[in-house]
Symmetry: C2
Subunit: 505 residues, 2 copies
């Protein structure tokens, strides 16, 4: 008893140190992405590498093995508190994943992906898939080696999925996505047949950066992003980063010719950040003080960006503010005009510019291609063609070059296969959570209409945020909604929304 | 031979890791001081503490001892290259300093100074010296314990001085300061008798923060601060911080009712930063990539702030720019008006507000009090009285309360005894360097008048900057100027300047 208490204490202190390394590196990364001067970046990368190596070494050190072994003894494990149990579970996973890959192999792979990212940037710039092809082939080869080392159940791709969405498998996703795809394509066709267009001209006027900055800050503060525990900056690619729950930062990118780009990216990132700001404080230093999975994380950002941020209630509440902030640009625009404008559906080539409905079709295309690439059913050389075929099938358009096709996303160059599906899982979870929220607080939309966003954050904190990584995604969804993952809520939500926006019958 | 090459390599890698820890912590500190949200700061302090502890542990680890022993063998040491020699010298110093203090004693002292800083802030706020007195007494007691452990030659205070200005002793400073004090007091009296006042009204108009920010950036860029290797932010107390030579950041503080506060603090900090930006790149990762001492560092900031920034040539060159930046505020102000305004001499109670002439008197007062406190000739209880007496002697004014007297500076609460004199040493070095610069480039002031500041930076880089911590302060001064430390250049410089500004005869 005494002994296992000592081990627990030592384990906590050990993991706290790892968490501190991780936090240090997160600060350095944020700094690199928001304004570190160029001449110091190369040396800074070495600092980041050193800290990451210390973290990695700790994760596979003999001490770690011994502590996990002791705490994992059945007699001991059952007596651990829930936080300890989750820590042991997560650290064991990390240990096994890291320990099983030979150091040399991992090193080769790290070098490959960092070169591949540079090659991808250049290939995208020149729209030259052939230049990127050898890198992608090698990456897929390594991923398959990792899958063989780690093992897999069911589909080979499951092992990759598990990195981003623990517990989710091809066997779960395939039927969900099949149904979502069918209904999305059909809804898209009905919208296109209806032939009604949104008036988006108001959103495309000149919106000065300084005014947008102030407006975005105002909105974020209103919806519950805590500026005493965060800050908003600008960066090339918007992101959110949790250093600790008292310091979760967001960035946005401002386009002076467009009101909605910065606004929705700010709200999206604030969704991620509000999640991490509300993780239970007792999880600090346990490495559980982060999102449960990429999908659950994305459920929060998408919930705020789309379900709330693109709702009629939201625009109704903020209408006086937005009209006052941009009186000239928005003179004559009604709530309904703006609501319809931000919900325009328009098939497009680029995922990150896609609307709420077609977005999932971009994801499913990538998911299907990834699976085929991993199994070898699709050769990298044939990827651009396969991409074009699916774009045509799902969206009725095809890329005019590689940059607007298979080279558009950074993910594959970093080896992030299995990541894309979490975006649509996020949309599915978000709609499920919205249904559960409606069940618990039937008039929550009226609260939004009055600007009382804390009702939502409170509910989300109770059911999602506070757990951090203590619960697995499926447990969170089940305990919050009373059922397992179910895409019907998303299809119903989309159906209702576009019936309203496009006056479908 | 083979063996000592291996030790050299291992030592380099080991020290590089320490330097990386230091750089990581510097980024975290910069972040804390420039905009980290308050709620995350407590946990961030733990991260900083962890990284500092790793650095400290490495500095006294058995491996360090062994490597220093091997590299220190006479046969080996003489064959090391100069960088290696300096690394061994510095790390040995660090090892001996850190190793000799019992861990428990150091821990107690760390806790004491962190509490003392909080107590000092409160005591200053309420102007209550009695509340701070017990902390100061304890700090002095610890410092005396450290002096006994580390040993001393000559005056006990030398051991403290050596922390900030290696090689400088009371025996060196006392005669220098005595002469400087006599001449400064006499010059001050002549200025006061002359009865001429500068017109500073132009500097006290309304200068909007955003305009000042732009103007400061412009000036810094012009004088050679490299914005590709740095950035300018705002903070409560202006500072500069070198992360690596490619990333040396400065901050300033803007007062909208004053043009010169931000301007001269920006130039001052840029002086520090230009120094570190120009340290030889091969010193990165050796822990020699920083200033040689506090005094040499201060010589650079003071040189830019006072000798250049408050020169007639400087104002002559920038006059069109400053007049264009602030046309309304400066309508009617001539170059001469501005030059005289920024060189106003006026005895004041607060060190950081003091002019170039009286500043050194503030320093000498502190230096003398520190010595007496350490030897026990002065009791802490008697400090406010002793302070008032010296203020009256040197400046002819006395504090109206403790906050404007002995409580005004943060240094003592952090245990930084021995630090103050480096400010005046910096002024002395700066004037010596200016004389050497004039000898090498007799028309350098004409270059300033044409805005060709790179001539100066080039000279300083050759003679000071590039060496980083490779040379000791005395070596730098001797190799740059051809002689040892000499305060005559400063007294001559001050004499000439104020004869010009105040038209003394």
């Amino acid at each position: 008893m005494e002994n296992h208490k000592n081990t627990e204490q030592a384990f906590r202190a050990y993991v706290k140190k790892m968490a501190d390394y991780k936090e240090a590196n997160a600060v350095l990364s944020w700094d690199l992405m928001t304004g570190a001067p160029p001449k110091g970046k190369e040396q800074r990368a070495e600092v980041i590498g050193m800290l990451a190596t210390e973290f990695f070494k700790m994760s596979i050190a003999p001490e770690m093995y011994e502590m996990l072994a002791r705490l994992g003894e059945e007699d001991t494990y059952t007596r651990l508190d829930p936080v300890m149990k989750a820590m042991v579970r997560e650290m064991r996973k990390e240990y096994e994943k890291n320990k099983s890959i030979p150091a040399a192999l991992f090193q080769e792979y790290t070098v490959l992906t960092s070169k591949a990212q540079i090659a991808w940037e250049e290939a995208k710039r020149t729209s030259d898939f052939a230049a990127f092809r050898p890198y992608l082939e090698k990456i897929i080869n390594y991923l398959n080696q990792f899958i063989d080392i780690w093992g897999y159940e069911g589909h080979r791709y499951n092992t990759l999925l598990d990195k981003y969405e623990p517990g989710i498998t091809v066997e779960i996703i395939d039927p969900l996505f099949a149904d979502l795809r069918k209904k999305s394509v059909s809804l898209l066709e009905r919208i296109q047949e209806r032939g009604k267009t949104s008036d988006t001209t108001y959103l495309k006027k000149r919106y000065p950066a300084s005014e947008q900055r102030k407006f975005n800050e105002f909105i974020l503060q209103k919806i519950g992003y805590d500026f005493l525990a965060g800050r908003l900056d600008e960066s090339t690619h918007p992101f959110s980063i949790g250093l600790n729950p008292g310091d979760v930062r967001v960035t946005t990118k401002i386009y002076e010719q467009d009101l909605q780009m910065a606004l929705f990216s700010s709200i999206h990132e604030a969704g991620h950040a509000i999640y991490e700001q509300n993780i239970a404080p007792e999880l600090v230093g346990t490495l559980l003080s982060e999102g449960a999975s990429m999908g659950i994380h994305e459920s929060q950002s998408r919930f705020w960006e789309n379900i709330i941020g693109r709702s009629e209630a939201f625009w109704s509440y903020f209408y006086p503010n937005v009209a006052a902030a941009f009186p000239e640009q928005l003179a004559g625009a009604s709530v309904q005009t703006l609501y319809r404008a931000v919900n325009q559906v328009q098939p497009s080539l680029i995922r990150i510019e896609a609307d709420e409905l077609t977005y999932n079709l971009h994801i499913m295309l990538r998911y299907e291609l990834e699976k085929s690439l991993i199994t070898g059913d699709l050769h990298v050389a044939d990827l651009p063609g396969a991409w074009a075929d699916k774009m045509d099938d799902y969206l009725g358009i095809t890329p005019f070059d590689d940059a607007s096709g298979a080279l558009q996303d950074v993910h594959w160059s970093g080896g992030d296969f299995g990541y894309f599906p979490t975006y649509s899982l996020g949309n599915i979870y978000a709609a499920q959570l919205e249904a559960a929220l409606t069940r618990d607080i039937p008039d929550y939309k009226e609260a939004v209409r009055r600007g009382e966003f804390d009702i939502i954050t409170h509910w989300m904190t109770q059911h999602v945020h506070r757990y951090g990584k203590m619960l697995e995604p499926a447990e969170i969804i089940r305990s919050a909604t009373g059922e397992g993952i179910n895409a019907d809520y998303l299809t119903t939500y989309l159906e209702n929304k576009y019936t309203d926006v496009y006056e479908l019958v």
